[in-house]
Symmetry: C2
Subunit: 426 residues, 2 copies
């Protein structure tokens, strides 16, 4: 994509109403736009990152047998009354439409998926089943002040699993745990992420959160110095003792919850009478698990971990909106572009266009800063702010070579044009 055609622009101005570094950088770089407190639009660059994250998550969900669907955002009041959440779910947006029909606006989808699965599951032979979606969620958050880390609307991957017995759930739960580690590994935050025990609800002592260490974190966890498992401060009773290894030595860390997995048991199958007939012919309630990841929050967490004073530093090509950021520097020889004069400048342009087309043909995703009348300094500053992993510079100085610089490093390297593609692929 050519930067001259991208409709967004970077801004030097720090947004005055954003407290988190991730939202500040993502807004300044034009990845997101704030519509209201806790409400953001994804702009072209931001949508590219979210699509990259979505692809990773989709692959890992498919790998654990997840079947993708897309549930309605409107949840009929009667469904939510069946579980008591029409009254009790604080963060639920409620709305009334034609014929006085009332709906909750999808904040989580147990009340849609449970009756849906009831329609198709009758026997133990229909189990297990795992179903997920990637969908816009709405939550009436009282506190929405951490940028994209806590919002009133966000894309969420929610997976639900259905089992004939506790053993089946327990086994699948471990599989999803592993899938989550793979996702966070591919998002390059695994090393800063702690599996953390959190409140478990009716059917399980604990649920598990994946908590990523960062200054902007709203959560506080106690990490066991021996087994490295986290414990959410919210469930700490009395003095700390690791629930796993009974060790008392710990570190306190500020973290962001980037995922959570939960054994629901029969909490939602019972109200909907989601039963199956077991091998002996007896009806039994289906055992459920649920597994969530918020996509904008995950993007925000990555930026919280990977940035410097100049901007975002996307940690790999899989997440970054583009692999390469191609910059063409014009000769500032007092012959401004407006005069349309040929010469060294014209030549530089041709080479950059050429490289751009070569990269496109090779299938390498490239953002090409072809803007006229923009100084070298501004182009470099924008490249640093946008954070694309590999910066390529072409100028009179680079001759028939291309200057390569990794966003996270200081050194530059001159590479012959012919070697560029293979260099970028390593």
């Amino acid at each position: 994509m050519k930067l001259s055609e991208l409709f967004t622009k970077t801004s030097k101005q720090m947004p005055s109403d954003e407290q988190s570094v991730s939202a500040q950088l993502l807004e300044r770089a034009g990845y997101i736009n704030k519509e209201a407190a806790g409400v953001y639009s994804l702009l072209p660059l931001g949508l590219r990152v979210i699509n990259n994250i979505t692809n990773i998550i989709r692959q890992e969900m498919d790998a654990v047998g997840g079947q993708e669907i897309l549930m309605s955002g409107l949840i009929p009041k009667s469904n939510l009354e069946q579980t008591g959440r029409w009254e009790s779910f604080e963060a639920l947006y409620r709305l009334k439409g034609a014929d006085d029909k009332e709906y909750g606006l999808g904040a989580t989808h147990e009340e849609i998926i449970s009756p849906l699965v009831k329609k198709y599951v009758q026997s133990y032979r229909d189990l297990p089943v795992a179903i997920y979606q990637i969908q816009d969620k709405f939550r009436n958050e009282i506190r929405a002040k951490s940028g994209v880390l806590r919002t009133r609307e966000f894309l969420m991957k929610d997976l639900y699993s259905f089992h004939a017995d506790q053993e089946g759930l327990d086994k699948y739960y471990e599989q999803v745990k592993e899938a989550y580690w793979k996702i966070f590994e591919r998002c390059v935050i695994k090393d800063k992420t702690y599996l953390t025990l959190a409140s478990g609800g009716t059917f399980s002592k604990y649920s598990h959160e994946f908590q990523t260490e960062t200054e902007a974190g709203e959560d506080e966890i106690y990490v066991c110095k021996s087994c490295r498992i986290g414990l959410n401060k919210e469930i700490l009773e009395g003095e700390y003792e690791c629930p796993e290894c009974k060790n008392r030595e710990h570190e306190v860390k500020k973290t962001i919850e980037v995922g959570n997995i939960f054994k629901l048991g029969t909490k939602y199958s019972k109200p909907f009478e989601l039963n199956f007939v077991d091998q002996s012919g007896k009806p039994q309630p289906v055992i459920m698990g649920c597994y969530g990841i918020g996509l904008q929050r995950l993007m925000g967490a990555i930026v919280e971990v990977y940035h410097d004073e100049k901007g975002i530093v996307w940690p790999n090509n899989e997440i970054a909106p583009f692999v390469a950021h191609l910059i063409e520097l014009k000769v500032e020889s007092g012959r401004p572009a407006e005069l349309g004069m040929e010469g060294p400048k014209g030549k530089g342009q041709n080479t950059a266009d050429e490289i751009y087309n070569q990269l496109l043909e090779a299938g390498i995703e490239v953002l090409y800063d072809d803007r006229e009348d923009i100084s070298a300094g501004e182009k470099f500053a924008d490249a640093d702010l946008l954070g694309i992993p590999c910066r390529l510079v072409i100028s009179e100085k680079t001759g028939d070579k291309v200057e390569i610089k990794n966003r996270s490093k200081d050194q530059t390297e001159l590479v012959p044009k012919e070697e560029l593609i293979s260099k970028l692929r390593t």
Copy 2:
């Protein structure tokens, strides 16, 4: 995908509360699930079709320079007050959240896109710009009784374009019109679709609808027998005369609106003071156009056009959820599968598994009916209901060949296994 693993099942029962054939078939075949009147979830097969349609639309929007974003579904009340639509937009769902903050739920996005573009467009050099999204929309429809053809929630592609002058809009409008024809051609409904003049609003005498002829259509259009342009009955005044060629001979057709394009002029740029500085340095309001397609409705329209008494007949591989529907028929020799006996049955299974893997390796999307204890009749009936273009049957009778049948034709053909892949690719 193996049918034994797909969690949905087909149903012989006609849904009692669906009047349109498309919703009846899509529900019976397990493509969609009705959550409430006008509210549907997309199940695995339905999501595959919608993703196929989305890909087509995305390609054609990218081809006319559209930049994809994803706007928020929550639209602040103040934005909607600025255009007067907080009061006047009948189909708008309104909701109140924490701190008494009020939002409209995205039914269309002029009130988000206009202030967003204002942030980035200052000069004529920043124009034209075209921005689109594919997003869940919500509409408080009084009448929601035509299945997926008129719903309270649906995915919509909405494109907005921004121009420095009327000429620029007019030119781009024609480009999008062509892009729409390409979309409907790829969805194989072009021949039954009429460009139709409809109400134009403040800045244009007419807008244009793309109306597809079908019995289930809620609209009525007058099609000129000479130039084939349609006129929506809603704007017919007095006796019919073709607004284009002045001919009076016409046909009346029942249709579904599958797309519409609209010259907005300055209707939304003025309230948001979305201006640009022209070449002479004077501020001018930006000229806008908007262009919509409802995705579930488009899927429904295709099914309205392409079905028979047995089920759906997807018109091509690009739209269909799978290209091939592989059926393995067991020898019904009194040796039921439960006994786990080897012999002809076991052999048949091996061949079907083999073919399935070959198709997967060749990148051909295949649904494999590997279900045990299901009769040949039931498998054929399901294949007809699901409507996948190419049915492949493997049985003892087919020997080392595969029986191929096109869903829309009666003849079958026996093809040697080795020729199957190349046959499917033609």
